[in-house]
Symmetry: C2
Subunit: 199 residues, 2 copies
């Protein structure tokens, strides 16, 4: 991974610091099944409301399941297809809208699934891989092409693969790949005991 | 933290492996402001759709903001209050339901906020702290007591603190604190290119 420095008022773990969503994948480097299992295990051990594990992930490896991978790419918006065509793995991220244990509405599904997906991204970072989650896709097309049943809902698509060394990043992606990572000032979103009171 | 072993088909990063949601906090160990800033920074650098950072976290430290901490405890269901009364920090987790950049509905708010909260939990694990997120609270009461404005929505409350050494865990919590961590088999929720096809 290309190293980017970020501004932090207090240090954070390198795994959290190093993860970022680039766009330049190396299409020649395969992500092996054992690696995908590590990512899945990382997601599996995320926390969830009532331990319901509402998430479902359809992992599409270009190497192992080229037809599925093609379908996943087709779900993405054009702008994302432009760079995701080089990502060796695309993952359809879904949640259940109902609790498994009692069939009632599960309002925590997307929240818990976001945590599981984040765990997968961090495990990927630990293994030298780059991930990039996208909301820019057609959930209807994903449901149709992957026969995703109710009460499940596609939430995002995540690309996974190894980043290109910087000297091989195509000219069109160079500026985006090297752009500094930015966030709003900490006190705008993290409050000290009262709404709007910056930490 | 008490160490628990988990069954994994493929290894995961120790930070992901060690995190779990216990219930026995040491009320005598203060969580300092600098530590809370590290947790906030970890959440701050999570990914979000359009980089919108929809999350808001109200961090209530019993030490620094006892009135806020009391209000947060009051929002929790009785079963959670029983053990959260010993947690030195309670965090109200909220999301915006609208995109900041254009005011349109943001359907990714809970998903992104779940990722930011997970980042905070993992940073806490890295610092030797234990977190436990709860859906068992009154969102209406949280909105009222903390004057949470629209279009923001309270999603969860997270407890943060240091775990008691096992020999000091109260009898009533011992079985729960030592219970093995369990998840459904990996292939039930992680699919290999097609819905229902276990990885």
């Amino acid at each position: 991974m290309i190293t980017k420095t970020i501004d932090v008022s207090s240090p954070i773990h390198p795994l959290l610091e190093q993860r970022y969503s680039g766009v330049s994948y190396d299409p020649t480097r395969i992500v092996h099944k054992q690696t995908l299992l590590s990512l899945a295990e990382a997601g599996r051990w995320a926390p969830s409301c009532f331990g319901d594990e509402p998430w479902r992930f359809i992992i599409c490896s270009k190497q192992d399941n080229p037809v599925s991978w093609d379908k996943a790419l087709e779900c993405l918006k054009e702008g994302n297809q432009a760079w995701c065509q080089h990502a060796p793995v695309l993952v359809i991220t879904c949640t259940s809208l109902l609790f498994d244990h009692n069939g009632a509405a599960n309002n925590f599904g997307p929240y818990d699934t976001g945590a599981a997906a984040m765990s997968m991204c961090l495990q990927a970072t630990a293994l030298g891989l780059m991930t990039h989650q996208m909301g820019g896709f057609s959930a209807d097309k994903a449901r149709e092409l992957f026969s995703i049943p109710e009460p499940f809902k596609p939430l995002a698509i995540m690309s996974v693969g190894y980043q290109l060394p910087f000297d091989r990043v195509p000219e069109q992606f160079k500026a985006r790949e090297l752009a500094p990572r930015k966030r709003k000032p900490l006190g705008e979103h993290f409050f000290d005991g009262a709404w709007g009171e910056g930490l």
